[in-house]
Symmetry: D2
Subunit: 293 residues, 4 copies
């Protein structure tokens, strides 16, 4: 698979909507001999709206140096002209580094590892970090596992987080919380802005916070859900990447809800992570634009 | 259809779970020559749990008098023995009287009328009441329409509600709020306990209250939902009967959300109403047991 | 709604994939002062693949004459250069003329009329034609109804079809078969190539032909479906536009299957018709490219 | 989990429908001090219909000897009286022995192993047999793996099958084909009647036989499906246990279809296997009655 990604890059643009952007971008790519494989666009329809674009293009023979030069040309000839401040051009053949944080539940983690092993998630999983030692064995057949216990006092929590931040340094373009039962500090979140993906086990904004399945059972809902979102400083309030639900009924116990919910969680998280590493998610305020396959 | 309902009744039981209930109920029915067509049971698994049962049975030749006698026998021989305080035995061949309250949106209303005209909702729709005159014409091709304007002051609101309560008297075994944009008073709710069904245009408990689609758009959710629930004195907090969702995406405007949402609303409400009139919904605290077909 | 469509047109292109098409099309539109509202593209990835594009653009002040002139410019400056033989530029403010053929079932028909009345299907429904008189009354509250009886002999069938073709002449840009229980002749199909949309009450290619619900029940399937497709000369073999399914179970009778199926049918057909009139469906051999909202 | 299953058994009945069966069965259970935990019933509504019932009951202190005695009592006092020829009473605390046959694809297999490891599939997986050696390593971390190569000639195929039948002897109450790319002989099928579960990678009866994804792509379907069914002597014609679908679109390649399809396959098979080992599936001619949780 990495072979066919050689020479392929993804140009992702977010900027003020102006006439002529598509013509300028596609004209630039064509003039340089780049072939557009996929192209997606979206204009938010509000007044003074935003424009979002993702182009997957192929430039024969392009390597990292070539990409760097291409970026500079694009910057000069297109980005500056349209005042684009928020754009990226990423090589499709380079795997993003991914670290996974987890506690004791293994379902979301194993789904990620399983899809990664099948090359459905194109990334380098550099490590799995857990505050519990339980999952060492199944994880280590795939990737390195680190146990970082987290104490109960604020000092101990801060210390553990600092250890984790050290471990992640240079090893994580994206951090995935695959049911990590600790709240990250603002410091951590600021270090990885829109790069920490969490799976919340409810259909947000319903059941923000702890113990959503118990609360869902108490409220008597007929569907339970899961939400993958970027982590921001406000708990469970970050931009939503993906959500899904599953039907439940009166005969289901809380354990049944957890079991059904686990299936939704793992799929929702896997889709969100896949889309993130393929540069398909653009944050728009507290929302996301997702250019699905 | 009403022909084949002759002699059919539905015995619905909710009581403390005790050994031998099923044997007693089915033994009673068999001993009287009644044939069980459908039977559903549920035990809530908590300590000192509740037992729920719905039996659809056929007793050849049973008419209203026969049913009345049968109820008294059941009461003496089974219900009293097991201390059942909450049970009913309804004739399947008698249509429940249904009143529909609506404002200006017609989608949920028309779905109900359409399914009712196809005999999928087995009820007598005695009237449609609206605080706006707009829907008179399409409604009157089906059933009587009453326009009851609702003023803005508390006094005017109370007066309008009193008029509606008068109209409903003796004409409503169930009241359906098919997007009625007025909040009912505790007095109204107490008059029709667990007999008022509302459709809320969100996946409750997300977006309780007003304007859920705008808030859903602002929160950037990836699914929007609808919830049919019994109305209690606390706004949007009553027992949920049915819920469903539909997928939305970044390219959808608030109008698109409303349009997609309208489709979910009308189906969720139609299912809830159908289940209610077929005695398939049993309220259990703030939850429901729904014995679907 | 028609107001905001003024000046908006849809450019739909299907051609051999070549480098530079996107740049040429978007460059042309931009150079003429047209603003792209939505743009979708697809390249079939086979060797010598095809390219598909739909642009919804706004050109201030454009009327029918302006559009005609714009088409000629596009033809000269872009279409000829890229050898495009299959493209169209349709005014968004002009409603397509739609005729609906139906037999006795009303569910798919009423769904279309209902959505049309809400302006969700932007078309002129010029007539409903049926081989039975039953639906005259509900239809005539919306649009003209014609009863064209169809005899059993080949001659009578041909005669009835000829009558219908006469009626449709000049009155139908698209013909929708909303459960029309007659097989159209090749002559009819050739007169409206890729302009006749049928709803088949199964998940094609399962249960091609007659009586799919009975056969689905006999096979014991756990889902039943519906398929909207363009009609070609081969029965139930034309390009599929949309499909969906609904879950059924052992307790459902054939009548339950028909009732559940009716819900799937009406939604699948409504989506297909809506996409067709919005120029969102491009036929690609025996498949379709559908650019959904 | 096995602890809470002690003393629990499942009485499954299929017989001619007659008045009084429910009363007799529930009366018998109650008279012996058994407590009904779950009860499901179904009557096929045809004339001279069949009756299906599943009771999960708890008899304090019941062990294998007690269950055996209980079965004999039930046989004498109920089954004979109603002429039941097809009934079973299985201990919930005993795991069924399960063998899995697989070729090279691992997705359906790994899903089963993963759910089994979480105790969601309550069985003893005694072995995985494959005609390829590829999956030895991941499988052996869970259960024994046997490589049984299958030649191309009829003799070699028969020989391989004979080897597998030998291995399975006494080790398999159920055989799961988790994408096993060999057709089993009538001899094999007769040895395990309604005990071999296959996952077919299409929505049967669409695309019976080989290479369904390619054929689905060629037909341009908008949904692809998977079907779990019991294996009978006729290829892909056995009773369907479970089906599901996933939406696909024009931009998906055959590889995308396979990848999406793999997700449907693994879930459909896992549900079917789980229901089978929990005695929730009753075969009714070429259909199934499934009493879901």
């Amino acid at each position: 698979m990495s072979e066919s990604r050689k020479g392929v890059a993804r140009l992702v643009v977010k900027c003020q909507d102006k006439p002529g952007i598509v013509a300028a971008v596609s004209g630039f790519l064509h003039s340089r001999g780049a072939n557009i494989i996929h192209s997606d666009q979206h204009s938010s329809d509000a007044e003074g709206g935003m424009f979002f674009m993702r182009n997957e293009f192929y430039l024969p023979g392009m390597d990292m140096d070539g990409l760097e030069a291409f970026k500079q040309e694009f910057s000069r000839e297109v980005a500056e002209r349209f005042g684009m401040r928020c754009w990226s051009m990423n090589p499709a053949w380079v795997r993003k580094k991914m670290a996974i944080l987890v506690s004791r539940y293994d379902h979301a983690l194993m789904e990620l590892l399983w899809r990664w092993a099948r090359d459905e998630i194109y990334a380098d999983i550099t490590m799995v970090v857990s505050n519990h030692p339980d999952l060492r064995e199944p994880v280590e057949t795939f990737v390195p596992f680190h146990h970082v216990p987290v104490g109960r006092s604020p000092e101990e929590k801060a210390e553990a987080e600092a250890r984790i931040l050290d471990m992640l340094e240079g090893q994580a373009d994206v951090v995935v919380l695959a049911r990590y039962m600790q709240i990250l500090s603002p410091k951590f979140v600021q270090r990885y802005p829109m790069k920490v993906i969490n799976i919340h086990h409810s259909f947000l904004p319903a059941f923000v916070g702890a113990d959503p399945y118990r609360r869902a059972a108490e409220r008597g809902v007929k569907l339970i859900g899961a939400t993958a979102h970027y982590v921001t400083e406000e708990l469970d309030q970050g931009p939503i990447i993906e959500q899904d639900v599953i039907r439940v009924k009166h005969s289901h116990s809380i354990d049944d809800l957890k079991s059904s919910g686990a299936d939704v969680e793992r799929h929702v998280l896997a889709r969100a992570v896949r889309w993130h590493v393929e540069d398909r998610v653009i944050v728009d305020g507290n929302k996301t634009v997702v250019f699905q396959r």
